[in-house]
């Protein structure tokens, strides 16, 4: 019988915060015996609430605690049942003190089951893609898909193929850089990005003024032009200083990817797809920002309009929180090398690089050295590309010799991550079948990810949850060969 587990996604943004709680099953695959999360079923979705920040941007901890408790109670969450998911902190909540407070409040309630990530734009782009387009992309494996997750403060770009994200980027383009009094265009607040654009467009307006229709159009035109440029690979647009200012993480579309299908998610994405499904547009500036205006212009855009009806993503409005829920946590194989499960969970473990079948002794030694000087221990991804017993024995024996020679501390956690189903045999050879004392874990059947940190949760039905964060762009990774 498949085991029931609970997944949680928490999204703390500058303006709003929300939670989703889902039940899922750890089901064993028919053909391979591998366990996977299936039948993810949303059982609670909170209202979007305003994030309790004071005028100085400081978090009101007691109100956050009350929010968390309310969500967990409403979602009937038993902390022992929580298998994974994530908490995403963006904007003001990602600032150091606020982030630390949220992480502490979450861990007090849920232990290390959830991974909390702050200001990790590549991860946010990845999550939005996975939350909205993963299935769509797998169903059209040859079609590159570019997802634009347009939120309040940023637009996260992610290009993927066959369910795998290949490239990400992030721009300070969003619905809430200009906040207005709902129902009007009277400016209530402006971000520094909005101020720069107003100045560039020579529109002399400040808080309390009402934007004229032409001025609204000009503001939206500017945002739209940047989105179109980024989505079509027109990189010269971003050479201008004002445009440059909007780039958080650059996104470059290769000429070979010009046939990518474009999808939208986030709050603006939800408005776009609601409109083409025949729903009327909400009333003017109903949400107190320019999101509705931006969505309308995207629907009319010559660049974007042809794409909108072509491929439609799932759960556009909540892509990131769905991504958090469903894709932050990966499942290991069920025959991992874990002599002592009591050392789990391991949180915030740095990933130092990768070893390959033909890594030299120097490659092995240099990463061993990095791990041994890390107080928490560390993780290395092993990319063998084979499950041939002779190759495993050879690599395992060489690594055992290198660890032995380096007098690797017997209690320092060393985690190896491998894609193939060979955790137990690799661990056995590396520890010389138990003769070499090491605090070694080999987690198998986990796809390689170019991330900076990993978290390994406690075992559940013979598998462990694995979460990555601090994503690097491919090529950034500090891999050694």
């Amino acid at each position: 019988m498949p085991d029931e587990v609970t997944l949680i996604g928490l999204d703390f943004g500058t303006t709003t915060s929300s939670a989703v709680v889902a039940s899922a099953r750890l089901t064993r695959s028919a053909a391979t015996g591998r366990r996977d999360l299936t039948e993810v079923h949303e059982r609670y979705r909170s209202d979007m609430v305003f994030t309790p920040l004071d005028e100085n941007g400081r978090l009101d901890e007691s109100r956050v605690a009350a929010l968390l408790d309310g969500w967990l109670a409403a979602g009937a969450v038993d902390s022992a049942q929580v298998f994974g998911g994530g908490a995403l902190l963006t904007g003001m909540t990602a600032q150091r003190e606020n982030a630390a407070a949220i992480v502490r409040l979450v861990r007090e309630r849920l232990g290390d089951a959830l991974i909390a990530t702050a200001d990790d734009p590549r991860l946010e782009s990845w999550l939005a893609f996975m939350g909205s387009c993963a299935t769509l992309s797998r169903n059209h494996p040859r079609q590159p898909i570019l997802n634009l997750d347009i939120g309040g403060g940023t637009t996260n770009f992610a290009l993927g193929r066959d369910g795998q994200v290949q490239r990400t980027g992030c721009f300070y383009i969003g619905a809430r850089h200009v906040r207005v009094v709902p129902g009007t265009y009277e400016i209530a607040a402006l971000t520094k990005y909005a101020e720069a654009v107003l100045q560039y467009l020579k529109i002399d307006r400040e808080v309390g003024d009402v934007l004229a229709p032409g001025e609204v159009d000009a503001m939206i035109d500017h945002s739209l032009a940047l989105l179109e440029a980024a989505a079509t690979g027109a990189t010269q647009t971003f050479e201008h200083p004002v445009a440059q200012q909007h780039v958080q993480v650059p996104f470059v579309l290769a000429p070979s990817e010009s046939d990518a299908a474009i999808t939208f998610s986030g709050g603006v994405g939800e408005l776009i797809y609601a409109s083409i499904d025949g729903h009327p547009w909400p009333a003017t500036t109903q949400f107190g920002d320019l999101g509705i205006d931006l969505a309308r212009r995207i629907v009319e855009s010559k660049v974007f309009a042809p794409h909108i009806r072509r491929l439609q993503p799932d759960s556009a409005g909540r892509a990131t929180v769905y991504g958090l829920l469903r894709h932050t946590t990966e499942i290991s194989g069920s025959t991992l090398f874990l002599p002592d499960s009591k050392i789990l969970p391991l949180a915030d473990l740095p990933i130092f690089g990768s070893w390959y079948r033909d890594s030299t002794e120097a490659d092995l030694t240099s990463l061993i050295d990095l791990v041994r000087h890390s107080p928490r221990g560390g993780c290395v991804q092993v990319r063998l590309g084979t499950s041939d017993a002779a190759a495993l024995r050879q690599f395992g024996t060489r690594l055992a010799d290198a660890l032995d020679q380096a007098a690797f501390p017997t209690d320092l956690p060393l985690v190896l991550l491998v894609r193939e189903n060979l955790g137990k045999i690799l661990g056995s050879y590396v520890t010389r079948w138990g003769a070499l004392p090491l605090n070694l874990i080999v987690v198998d059947e986990v796809a390689e990810r170019d991330a900076q940190f990993v978290q390994i949760g406690t075992p559940h039905s013979q598998v462990v949850p694995v979460s990555f964060y601090g994503l690097n762009e491919p090529g950034d990774a500090r891999c050694t060969h």
């Binding site: 019988m1 695959s29 041939d388 017993a389 193939e420 137990k424 045999i425 079948w433 138990g434 003769a435």
Partner: protein, 727 residues
């Protein structure tokens, strides 16, 4: 609900000592000691009866037996109940005597031969009336005198309709039980197989799944999912999970929708009690509970479902010296007690030890259908086979054409003929529709109406029912393409949905048959000893099976050592021995051993378990390990053996590791006896299965085995007892 006659009220004549039946056959006399031997010799020769020493050794002997049997009166058969090995009338035989005595008295003075002629001459209603007055032995005796035409002609006269939500078995209909079996009971895969079958017009008799895991929790979960599928699609049918009757009663107790109650039955009390864990009391309780509290109470006229099949009593060694056809008929006599909604047999399921080839399987199925319908049962048929018999898909298809002519109420729908859980091959929804078109049959009326509404069926310009525009499209029940793809990802052996007329398209068929071919080849391939010896220093031993055919036909031979090997093996000091044998797939050995055994030997050495020199046996069975443990005085034997190939080519290369623990310590033996309830338990087993590249890769399996062997030796236990200790 009809009343159940108390067993004590069923009159059965006292058993008599076996008498000799003799006849002259031209120039010599042929004699049979006892009715059991006479009945056995009168049948077509089938593997199970040959192994049991019951089949006639020649056609002359068989025909002589038939001649003698033809001359016995029904009264004689009535007066001589067959007994169990202790000379007693068992409970199954007793229930067989719960008959319409008026009907019997009208034919009691007839000989079996005269009755056969009478049935051929009579109208259907008369045949049906007489059938209610016959015991299983009488029906079996008649079957043995019938050729193929006789079996079909008599069976097709009888209509045995039954009614739950749908009405089955009326003339002109052919229904099907949708069987969405899945290797891990993955509800996504189960759901897709249901959608697929329903879209092909199957499932009007039942959506009934055999669970991989027979627990109350799992069976309830599957029942709820099937109920969801039924409601979502709106298909008028009923649902069932074919678990043990006790599990289903517990599910019903918890409110799960047990709409139809299932149980496998056998034709001797010993088999039912000791192998199937059921008694008449348990079956009575199931029937009464369903009648009073079943979800279809008040809707369904019948609600019990039984599965049977020739040969189970023989394979368990509990056939009481009775042949396979007769024990099968006795099973029907038992099933009749509960006025079931459905009965079907799965003759062919066991393997070549009971039915060697297509011919034996086809004849046995025709006999079964004849006997079942005659005795009063709503018979569905599941002519089927496993890869290690000589039965082919074509042979099975011939059986279905003949059985449809004989008026089968329903067939199975196993998608693309390939059961994904039970590793056997049965009829498919495509077959059912083909047979409907060949024989001019329609689904059950309620289901037909639903199918017409959905466009699965339609009417042509003449008003005839034909396949509709949505026939064969499982996507019609999915809300999105994404949902369909998710379901598909959890469904093994789904080779395509394209069709050509009522058949799968050629491309789909070719893919399926190629996979099946790989499976068949894996069984018939011979072990390449030289190649294996290059991977490890194997010592070769022999089993008592001298040839592949002997090995496949007689499981017992592969469990024993040859005299020479017995001589060769003497006690050794090694606590652990490694044994490799082909079992039912030499290909599984060839593909996995080169990566598995070297790593396994490394691990055992590394963990200081010092194994003996590994052994290699051609034509081995699982229990060969017991003989090795005894001869070599080993505590643990790691037996790596090829599994029975199923429908998928990769899985045909699947190896299992049976880790045998010999209970040589008196304390361990006591604990094991207490745990299992078997006082003479001598061995325990832990099984690690699914070893192949896409399952548990062989090198990884080596480490898993080494770890498990360590636990077995440390805790002096294996199997469920070890797992209980580890918790």
């Amino acid at each position: 609900m009809h009343s159940l006659t108390p067993l004590a009220s069923i009159a059965v004549p006292d058993p008599r000592p076996p008498q000799d039946y003799t006849a002259r056959c031209f120039d010599h006399e042929v004699a049979f000691h006892g009715l059991k031997r006479l009945l056995g010799a009168a049948d077509f020769s089938k593997a199970g009866d040959r192994h049991a020493g019951l089949a006639a050794e020649s056609e002359t002997v068989r025909e002589t037996a038939r001649k003698i049997l033809s001359g016995l009166t029904l009264q004689h058969l009535y007066d001589n109940p067959l007994t169990d090995d202790d000379g007693q009338v068992d409970s199954v035989m007793r229930v067989n005597y719960d008959i319409d005595r008026e009907a019997l008295s009208s034919v009691a003075s007839m000989t079996v031969g005269e009755l056969k002629d009478h049935l051929l001459r009579a109208r259907g209603a008369e045949v049906a009336r007489i059938g209610r007055g016959l015991t299983g032995v009488m029906a079996a005796a008649l079957a043995k005198l019938c050729d193929v035409h006789d079996l079909i002609l008599i069976a097709r006269k009888i209509s045995r309709p039954s009614k739950a939500r749908t009405l089955l078995g009326t003339p002109g209909t052919l229904s099907s039980r949708l069987q969405p079996n899945h290797p891990t009971d993955d509800l996504r895969g189960v759901t897709l197989l249901c959608y697929w079958g329903l879209s092909l017009g199957s499932g009007d008799a039942l959506i009934g799944m055999n669970p991989a895991i027979d627990t109350v929790e799992n069976v309830s979960a599957v029942l709820r999912q099937l109920d969801k599928v039924r409601r979502h699609t709106g298909a008028p049918t009923q649902i069932c999970v074919l678990s043990h009757i006790k599990t289903q009663l517990a599910c019903l107790e918890r409110g799960a929708p047990v709409e139809v109650m299932f149980q496998s039955l056998a034709g001797t009390e010993n088999t039912n009690l000791r192998e199937f864990d059921i008694s008449i009391d348990v079956l009575d309780k199931g029937y009464r509970t369903m009648a009073e509290r079943g979800p279809l109470h008040g809707v369904a006229r019948q609600f019990m479902y039984f599965e049977t099949g020739q040969g189970s009593e023989f394979t368990y060694g509990r056939h009481n010296g009775i042949d396979m056809t007769t024990t099968e008929a006795l099973t029907y006599g038992l099933a009749r007690r509960y006025d079931p909604f459905m009965v079907n047999n799965v003759t062919g399921f066991i393997g070549p030890e009971t039915h060697l080839d297509s011919f034996e399987m086809i004849l046995a199925n025709l006999q079964d259908q004849f006997m079942g319908k005659l005795l009063g049962l709503p018979m569905g048929m599941a002519p089927c086979y496993t890869r290690h018999s000589n039965i082919t898909l074509e042979g099975q298809q011939m059986a279905t054409e003949l059985l449809a002519s004989a008026g089968a109420n329903y067939y199975m729908d196993v998608s693309l003929n390939t059961d994904r859980m039970l590793a056997y091959f049965d009829t498919s929804a495509h077959d059912n529709q083909s047979l409907r078109e060949v024989c001019g049959r329609l689904p059950a009326p309620e289901f037909l109406e639903w199918g017409l509404e959905r466009g699965i069926f339609t009417r042509d310009e003449t008003g005839a029912v034909v396949r509709g525009p949505h026939w064969g499209d499982p996507r019609q029940f999915c809300e999105s393409e994404a949902e369909f793809q998710e379901l598909l990802s959890a469904t093994p052996a789904a080779y395509g949905f394209d069709t050509a007329g009522p058949r799968p398209s050629n491309a789909v068929t070719r893919e399926m048959r190629l996979h099946q071919g790989v499976g068949r080849e894996a069984i018939h391939a011979e072990l390449d000893v030289e190649r294996l010896r290059r991977t490890a220093p194997f010592r070769l031993i022999e089993t008592a099976a001298a040839t592949k055919d002997a090995h496949l036909g007689s499981p017992d031979l592969g469990s024993r050592l040859s005299a020479a090997s017995r001589e060769m093996l003497t006690p050794e000091t090694a606590e652990v021995q490694v044994l490799v044998s082909d079992g039912l797939s030499a290909e599984a050995v060839h593909h996995n051993i080169p990566d598995l055994v070297p790593a396994l030997l490394d691990g055992l050495e590394g963990r200081r378990k010092r194994p003996g020199v590994p052994l290699l046996a051609r034509y081995g069975r699982v229990k060969l390990a017991e003989r090795i443990a005894e001869r070599l005085d080993a505590s643990v034997v790691i037996h790596l053996i090829g599994e029975r190939p199923g429908g998928d080519a990769q899985a045909s290369r699947s190896l299992s590791a049976y880790l045998l623990y010999r209970l040589s310590h008196p304390a361990a033996q006591r604990e094991a006896a207490l745990f299992s309830g078997n006082a003479s338990a001598a061995f325990e087993y832990t099984v690690i299965s699914n070893i192949y590249a896409q399952g548990l890769p062989p090198a990884e399996a080596a480490a898993v085995i080494v770890e498990k062997v360590g636990q077995i030796l440390e805790h002096k236990a294996a199997g469920n007892r070890l797992e209980a200790l580890l918790k």
